[in-house]
Each structure stands twice: as structure tokens, then as C-alpha cells.
Amino acid sequence: MASATINPTRMELNRLKGRLKTATRGHKLLKDKRDELMKQFLEIVRRNRELRAKVEKGLEEANAAFTVASALMSPEMLEQALLYPKQSVELDMSFKNIMSVNVPRYAFHTKNEDPAEIYPYGFAQTSGELDAALDALANTFHDMLELAEVEKTMQLLAADIEKTRRRVNALEYVMIPGFQEKIRYISMKLDENERGNITRLMKVKDMVLQEAHEFKQPATA
């Protein structure tokens, strides 16, 4: 599509050639970026699947135990038992750069180092199922945290892959062909002008020669 708005000049041609070069280089770079992102993404997806299955299984276990516990204990007792947690969790977040996508990395530390310290109640008034539920939760928590990290990474990567993919496609199917078409148009126009110029010069030369000839003839006659 050679639009009528471009000037068929040598300057424009040079400018377009420069842009085409940049676009081609950008296209190659973005394509590499997309491929690498995709590779990382698929790895993360695989990890995510594993973790999610693990977490869901763990939580199901915890929920089952918890349901039994809440059936055995009165809601008030349950509430009271869990009212004041011994444990507290603090989360540190750092960032990891995957192909210029910043993804979070979580590191958590608990106030209480002892893993047996999760039970915030005395054992006298609570049912054993509650212990089992909390135990299952505590065991799953590590995976849950990793799941959060992996899932967020996956979401961010997916968004970025989509963006990169669009850019690659736009360059490949719109920008680069457009530039090529325009360059072709300008160089054809310039060549045409050149040919026009040559024929005009030849014509002028002919006319000049003719004139000189005619000028000479009466002189000799």
C-alpha cells in the first residue's frame, strides 16, 4: 500500500531505509525475547501444576480435619482456641528479573522458630482433630507460599508474553512490509524520474543537434 502522502525523495528513502533496519533488528530481538519468555513460562506452568495439586490436597486434608474438629467442639471453644496465635509470619518480598519482567520472590520468616509452636492453645480443652488440621495447614503453608510466587510469576509472564507477541506480530506483518512497500514505491518513482530525465536530455540533445545542423546548412549552401 503506497500511500499518496509520502514524498518520493532521496531523503525520505534514506529515512525509510533506516527505519526498516531498526524495525528488522527490533523484530529479531523481540522474537528472541518472546521465545525465551515462553520457555520460562512453560517451566513455571509445569511447576504451578505440581504445586497446586499438592496444595489442594493438603488443604483438603486440613479442611476435613477441621470440619471434624468444629463438629466436636462448640464454635465458641474453637474460636477461643484460635483467638490468640502464637505464631506470626512476616513476609519479605524481593524481585527477580526474568527477561526484564519483574517477578516477586517471597521469603517469609516466622516469629517462632519451633515448628511445634503452632498450637496456640492448651491441649486439655480441644479435640485432637484440631491439632491434625493445624498440622496439615502448617505443612501445606510452605507450598502455598511457593504457589503464590509461581502463580504471580505466571500471571506476569503471561501478560508480558502477550504484549511481546503483539509487538512481534505488528512488526512482522504491518511495520516491516509497510516500510518495504514504501521503499519500493520511492525507488521506483526515483528510477522513473531518472529515466524521464534521460529521455528528456536525449530529446534536448537531438533538438540542439538539429538546430546546429540547420544553422550550418544555409551557411554551406
Partner: protein
């Protein structure tokens, strides 16, 4: 320093309290939505939300998909897994690849 929140119905989230997470038991959808947005504005880096609750809030959850914080993560509630987490995974793949790959 960031915090972790757990959002869902009372029975599903109560246990997380013992782990030291902040729990927000909610029953109504509207209440849950407001809580979610409020938590997102505060420094909660991870918000776990039960799938049962998430079914009604999918639009609100999608809003946080492209921002770095918070990470809104679906977990199965006391009713068991609804497969929503796996569905979210599938959606992310579809988004990245541009086509549904099985």
C-alpha cells in the same frame, strides 16, 4: 515488610490464624469485594481467597492479575476444590500462547 491475608468463609480460614496469617472471614459477596480492594491497597503481598468466594469476584480478581502486588491466589475452601485454580492456569496459558492448547 509485607503481610499475608486469607479471605473466605469462616470455617475455611479460621485455621490459618494459628499460622500467624491475617484472616478476614466474610460471608457476603459485597463485603468480600470491599475487603479485597481494601487489602490490596494496604501492604498485603499475598491474598489467599477461597474458590467459593472467588466465583463471585472473578472480575475483581482479574484486576490484580497484571499488578505485582498483591498476588491473589485461589485456594480450595471447605467445600473442596472447584477446579478454579486450574482454570486460572489454563487462562494464563491461553493468554500467553494466543490459542487454547490442551
Amino acid at each position: 515488610m509485607y503481610k499475608i491475608a486469607v479471605l473466605g468463609d469462616r470455617d475455611s480460614v479460621l485455621g490459618f490464624k494459628a499460622l500467624g496469617l491475617d484472616i478476614f472471614p466474610t460471608e457476603g459477596t459485597e463485603e468480600a469485594r470491599q475487603t479485597l480492594h481494601k487489602l490490596a491497597k494496604e501492604d498485603y503481598a499475598i491474598i489467599y481467597i477461597t474458590e467459593q468466594l472467588a466465583t463471585a469476584l472473578s472480575a475483581d480478581i482479574n484486576r490484580y492479575k497484571t499488578s505485582v502486588t498483591p498476588a491473589v491466589i485461589l485456594i480450595p475452601g471447605k467445600g473442596g476444590s472447584l477446579g478454579l485454580g486450574a482454570q486460572a492456569l489454563q487462562m494464563a496459558i491461553e493468554r500467553a500462547v494466543g490459542a487454547d492448547i490442551g
